[in-house]
Amino acid sequence: MNERTLLRDNVADIAAYFAAGGWRPLKKALSMGRAAVIAEVTASGLRGRGGAGFPTGRKWSFVPQDAQGPRYLVCNADEGEPGAFKDRELLRRNPQAVLEGMAIAGYAIGASLGYIYIRGEFSAEAEFLTAAITAARAKGFLGANILGSGFDFDIHLHRGAGAYICGEETALLSSIEGLRGQPRLKPPFPAVKGLFGAPTVVNNAETLAAVPSILERGAAWYASTGSPDSPGTKLFCVSGAVNRPGVYELPLGVPFRELLETHCGGMKDGRKLKAVLPGGASSPALTAAEAMAVNMDYASLAAAGSMLGSGAVIVIEEGRCMVELLGVLARFYRHESCGQCAPCREGCAWADKLLAGLEAGRGRPSDVETLRSCAAAMTGRTICPLADSLALPALSFISKFRAEFDAHAAGRTCRAAGGGRLA
């Protein structure tokens, strides 16, 4: 099956979405009962598309059934990672699926209020989404007593203020609460103690958009797409030196080779592939050979030493300097670290300074080992995975492209001529 269920054409408008069968899955869900909805989503094998790949049905089931008081559903549309631009596309092309997915998820976990946390820079999308919410409300798909079922569910749109870290789910919750956007210590997990202290589920916009079709056509149908550990389709946003960069909805497990050659039209101007960051700016790099042999799903990418992450695929061509590229990542993560964990706060900055020195020809021979040990000291040692997001790429860059780093440190020149910036 190569059907697109997320990036469908001509469904941006609520009437068109409804005409294409939209908002019926919610009605079906309401007639099934909560437990059955969670069971269906669990059986579909849907995994979170925000980066961690956590099974969605299981996440919903963690909300204590007997908890008193409110619960919340949060849609994470903060999309701030370099190379990721899939949620934005989704919100533009299929906003009603996100809203319907939220309503179904809200019903499943017993929430009557949902929040969409949208990246601050997405102002056009925020306006568009506001209109989409208003339209759904007008049709009675959101609000009180939805479709006469007795289920109330409404959605607030909350705009971020520009911090990448607020995409991390607990930082996001603090940000909605008006607090400093920094990740919270877990446990307690949001499902137990989340927004305003109440049980909360945070799901990525893409994850939620997949839910209506699962309800509509069943778990077995959904699981028939993709690979066994990674069912369904995924939005891949491909950037870098390819002929047709962009967002592609493809079954999980698609070979990278197919993604590159068939869908993206191959490398731009006949350039040679050098490396790939297959899961965005936080994923370890694959060499060209590794990438050409890998399938794009959770298990295959993990086995290859990287990860699917958010599905942002950054393609790097021969001639691109890996030291410079890592410097771009370090600058980004240094700027975005919330600063609470000593290894992240100090480590990202140290890595950035080391890389700036290497790039500028001010490096010392020992700098490469210093950088490697700095990255190793950041790995798995922090509250949230932001430190890993720099450390893991850094370790992979250094181990796979060591010669470039050593050349910078010793010869003070960039062997991989070409320069330029990360697209």
């Binding site: 920094q182 210590l185 600063g339 290894p343 706060r345 100090e346 900055a349 798995g380 040692r381």
Partner: protein, 472 residues
């Protein structure tokens, strides 16, 4: 009650106890910066990590509950490496100005570096981020952001304990720094606790800074006499001088209020009384005692008023004086509303011994109302008490009334006092106090009194002897 092993030693802990607490029971101190037992966990410094068998990542012992069957190592190679790494990270931007830092000798960063690292710096000094030094942030504190390790203990204290939230982390990433909200001063009545809990020399006390090195200080347990709560404290002193007061280690009061902490200050103040004081002039203690005895013996209806600011022993000495005078005009019973008034430590009753004073004269005597009535009616024409207790006498003193007080400092002397006798404070002489819950505590001595200043009981006994001498 989970049972686990830490470094191979079994331990059983209460449900919900953390690994750090469990280790503490075994006498294993896990190094930490952000953890403080009386504050909610932050889990951010990553210094307290331990290895749990079967768990791929190191865990923060400050925030991970001890669980049944856990096998924890606090000294595995991975743990040791992680500590070294944290220390290296924290020292990257540190100014390394230990020789001029007041925290030296009691600095966690310094101590842990010696214990867990001793590695050479790999970071060029010219790449250090400049930060603000020596910023006055309140009447009692100086902030040095260069030395701050961003443990946020200070922020959490102001958020959770005093709930005044003056401090916050400004900026983010390595540009983060501790800042104070615009227009606020850090003056919440408990601010000096921050100098204690700051693990490094970033927050230092203006009272203590540069006056004494930590390693020269001796530590003596005392009871804080700042109010009826009677917090357990520790006086730090050297060479006969007290330099600071801190909460006693392990005391149920994790904190001390600023006022209580500074109760030692009058000891060395310029107005400290070392002699007697009659009308407007100093006079040696011995003639002062003779004069006071003469007045008490000479005036009809001389009275003795105890004091809730004095120890059980000194009140007893005043009661003995009343017996020597042969008067029924005495009062040792005080009533005061008591209880914690700010939700933290400070008591509604400002006096430390309201409960204990009554022990001096369990029966007989007058209540305060009757004492005041007799003074107003002219039936009592002389009275001896302690300076602050004189405030229990209401209204203007009748002409010719002879008020005799014990005081430690001239500023305490009430208006209209005829004679004042000095006495040794409870930092200088032992005393028993009974707090608002009935808990007895003996305090002092920490330092010697000024030369020639005896404890109050001694002077009261001399007065009693002088009275007998007159009578004989």
């Amino acid at each position: 009650m989970p049972r686990l092993t830490i470094d191979g030693r079994p331990v059983e802990v209460k449900e919900g106890a953390t690994i750090l607490e469990a280790a503490g029971l075994l006498g294993i101190t896990i190094p930490r910066f952000c953890h403080h037992p009386a504050l909610p966990p932050a889990g951010s410094c990553r210094m307290c990590v331990v290895e749990i068998e079967g768990s791929p990542k190191l865990a923060t012992s400050c925030s991970t509950p001890a669980a049944e069957g856990m096998k924890v190592s606090t000294s595995s190679p991975a743990v040791k490496a992680a500590r070294r790494d944290v220390l290296e990270f924290l020292l990257l931007n540190h100014p390394l100005d230990c020789p001029i830092c007041d925290q030296a000798g009691e600095c966690s960063l310094q101590d842990y570096y010696m214990e867990h690292s001793c590695a050479k710096s790999r970071f060029p000094a010219e790449l250090k981020e400049p930060r603000q030094k020596r910023r006055l942030i309140g009447p009692h504190l100086v902030l040095d952001n260069e030395r701050c390790v961003l443990c946020t203990r200070c922020v959490r204290f102001c958020d959770e304990v005093t709930r005044t939230s003056e401090l916050f982390v400004s900026g983010r990433s390595d540009a983060s720094f501790i800042d104070i909200r615009e227009g606020k001063a850090l003056d919440n009545g408990y601010s000096l606790n921050l100098a204690d809990i700051c693990p490094v020399g970033a927050l230092t006390s203006r009272e203590f800074r540069f006056r004494q090195r930590a390693w020269f200080l001796e530590k003596t347990p005392v009871t804080c006499l700042g109010c009826a709560t009677g917090c357990r404290a520790e006086a730090h002193h050297a060479g006969g001088e007290i330099y600071r007061m801190v909460p006693a280690p392990g005391a149920e009061n994790a904190w001390l209020c600023d006022r209580g902490r500074l109760t030692y200050r009058p000891l060395r103040a310029g107005d400290r009384l070392k002699k007697g004081f009659i009308k407007n002039g100093y006079i040696d203690l011995e003639p002062a005692v003779r004069e006071a005895a003469a007045r008490l013996a000479g005036e009809p209806g001389a009275a003795v008023l105890g004091s809730p600011w004095l120890s059980v022993e000194d009140n007893a000495a005043l009661a003995a004086l009343a017996r020597a005078l042969g008067t029924g005009n005495y009062c040792f019973s005080f009533t005061a509303e008591s209880g914690i008034k700010d939700g933290i430590l400070v008591n509604k009753d400002p006096a430390p011994n309201t409960a204990g004073a009554a022990e001096a004269a369990p029966t007989g005597g007058l209540d305060l109302g009757e004492l005041n009535r007799r003074i107003a009616a002219g039936e009592i024409k002389a009275l001896i008490t302690e300076a602050r207790a004189a405030a229990f006498i209401k209204g203007r003193l009748p002409d010719g009334f002879k008020l005799i007080v014990f005081a430690t400092n001239r500023s305490e002397i009430p208006a209209g006092a005829y004679a004042t006798l000095p006495y040794a404070s409870y930092f200088e002489t032992p005393g028993t106090f009974v707090n608002y819950q009935g808990r007895r505590g003996v305090t002092g001595p920490v330092v010697p009194p000024p030369e020639g200043v005896p404890p109050l009981a001694e002077t009261a006994a001399a007065l009693a002897a002088a009275l007998k001498g007159d009578g004989a």
